[in-house]
């Protein structure tokens, strides 16, 4: 668990982060969104003390981070950044081994961990272990960058626009991979992004920042249906609200008993996908794999604030 308490950063008379407090529960994902210059990256970098706070403090599992030497603190916190920052003179395996080596793991343990991570990210170790970063595609470099951040099994992972340099198709699968791996490992994750779709797709909670202030810190549904300020509403974009809302719930949440014709939809598909399928095939109801139906009527209700998806 990570608790940020009244964190402030000033450069001269410019306040970049202004009295921000928030808590991220163990195993949760907090997504910080905002325009460039909103202070979200500075806030992130104060967590591992790449930037020293002017005031306030950060507690990780109850320990004040200011009491730990900065470089030792950083070895316990995973860190992945835009443009991956892989060391160009080191192989994939050496890059991933960076933090375990700093921590003095023995060679056999490091090797096993590197292979385990490469497997986890679907990069066959035999093929990728000894390559240099420039011999990888952008998506592969990004996966190696995240593997490196996870190498020493940190409980906390910080990511700064980790998918910013990827094209949309690769980005979507990288996000899905991250979500899967984060759930599997139970890592607490703080991710900075300027992409509201990315924040919606990943965040258990979303923090919206503007001009150094944390305007709202709430679950995605609350950000959509109850924006704290006009800026938050503008950032989400009114035209996409119903679709964001639908993408937050699964078909299984909305299924009712009954039967319908046509090819079925998976129970873990999002309501947004189900709506798209209804519209595309011109059907008023879809059968759900394993029983039940989801109706266009129910989808329309769920797309409104206070709709069916709001129950859980």
């Amino acid at each position: 668990m990570i608790e940020i308490e009244h964190l402030t950063r000033r450069y001269g008379d410019r306040t970049v982060v202004r009295d921000v407090s928030l808590t991220v529960g163990r195993g949760q994902i907090a997504a910080l969104v905002g325009t460039s210059g909103s202070g979200k990256t500075t806030l992130l970098r104060m967590i591992n003390r790449l930037v020293q706070p002017t005031a306030g403090r950060v507690l990780i599992d109850g320990t004040d981070t200011a009491t730990v030497p900065a470089h030792l603190l950083r070895r316990r916190i995973g860190y992945a950044i835009q443009g991956h920052g892989l060391f160009p003179h080191r192989t994939v395996a050496q890059n991933i081994a960076t933090v375990p080596r700093l921590l003095g793991w023995d060679a056999a343990r490091i090797r096993a961990r590197v292979d385990e991570l490469l497997d986890l990210f679907q990069l066959p170790p035999v093929e990728f272990r000894d390559r240099l970063p420039h011999q990888l595609s952008g998506g592969q470099q990004q996966r190696v960058g995240v593997s490196r951040a996870l190498a020493a099994r940190p409980d906390l992972l910080l990511m700064d626009e980790p998918f910013g340099a990827l094209d949309p198709v690769i980005r979507a699968s990288a996000q899905a991979d991250l979500r899967r791996i984060q759930r599997e490992l139970g890592t607490t994750l703080v991710i900075v992004t300027h992409d509201i779709d990315e924040a919606m797709a990943l965040g258990d909670r979303i923090g919206v920042m503007d001009q150094g202030l944390l305007l709202q810190y709430a679950p995605p549904r609350a950000i959509l249906t109850d924006p704290a300020t006009p800026f938050v509403a503008r950032l989400i974009g009114t035209d996409q609200r119903p679709f964001h809302l639908l993408s937050l719930s699964r078909v299984a949440d909305l299924a009712t008993p009954g039967t319908a014709d046509g090819p079925p939809v998976a129970p873990d598909a999002s309501l947004r996908d189900a709506l798209a399928l209804c519209l595309w095939s011109g059907r008023g109801a879809l059968p759900v794999q394993g029983g039940g139906v989801v109706t266009l009527e129910a989808l329309r209700r769920a797309a409104r604030p206070g709709g069916a998806g709001a129950d859980p």
């Binding site: 920052g85 160009p88 003179h89």
Partner: protein, 246 residues
């Protein structure tokens, strides 16, 4: 490919000449007027070449240690104020004529290799210092950021990330200094340092063009070969260099 063959040929001819210079006498005889000897035999040419190389190597090694050290120092936080001073010192070292350094150093150090070493050392500082600076400040920001974020100490960042990545640029500076020192070292023979300059000076004093040519050509060929060796090394060490373009 042609370049590599030419370099190989140059190296072979140079080695043949140094091991048995008298075999090249017919080639040089037309340059020696009035039946003067075409080949310098006062001292062994091979010995002079080795002395010459040793002197250059010692001077460039000293320049490298000092200039790289200075470059590292002024790029550490808290030491940036020293940068203007370091720039001035290395620039003066480059602009002060080596001949003048010899003239000033002889009364203090006596004749021999000492003054030449000093002159070459000072002359070689600037290219290495400037390249060290360029190499260490031109690193990709994402890479240095990642090194910090991973929890490397400043010393670990320097040794494991910054220096290896700056190495090709630093080596380019060392190459410049080495090539300049190789030709400049010849003037050391005016103050009794044992260098190939001895052959050239003997040729000038006795109006024997053959001596001047053989001294000059040996130094020039050495410079070419050393230059090529450094370029090869720089390419090898550059990340993403030809080592994996097989």
């Amino acid at each position: 490919m042609i370049g590599r063959a030419a370099l190989g040929l140059a190296a072979a001819v140079l080695a043949a000449f140094l091991l048995a210079p008298e075999r090249f006498a017919p080639l040089l005889r037309p340059l020696a007027a009035n039946g003067a000897p075409p080949i310098y035999t006062q001292t062994s040419l091979l010995g002079l070449t080795l002395w010459h190389l040793a002197l250059v190597a010692a001077a460039v090694a000293a320049s490298t240690v000092v200039a790289v050290g200075l470059g590292i120092l002024v790029t550490r936080p808290g030491w940036r104020d020293v940068l203007p001073l370091a720039r001035t010192v290395t620039s003066v070292g480059q602009t002060f004529p080596p001949v003048a350094v010899l003239a000033l150093a002889v009364p203090l150090m006596g004749f021999g290799s000492g003054p030449t070493l000093l002159a070459l050392f000072l002359y070689g500082l600037l290219p290495i210092f400037e390249n060290t600076l360029a190499g260490l400040t031109g690193l990709p920001p994402a890479v240095t950021e990642a090194a910090r974020g991973m929890g490397m100490t400043p010393a670990q960042r320097l040794v494991q990330v910054e220096l290896p990545l700056a190495l090709p640029v630093i080596l380019a500076g060392v190459r410049l200094s080495a090539v300049i020192a190789l030709s400049t070292a010849t003037i050391g023979s005016t103050v009794a340092a044992r260098t190939l300059g001895e052959v050239i000076i003997a040729g000038l004093l006795s109006s024997n063009t053959a001596f001047v040519v053989q001294g000059g050509v040996v130094v020039g060929t050495l410079a070419l070969l050393i230059h090529a060796g450094f370029v090869w090394l720089e390419r090898r060490l550059a990340p993403g260099g030809p080592s994996d373009r097989r």
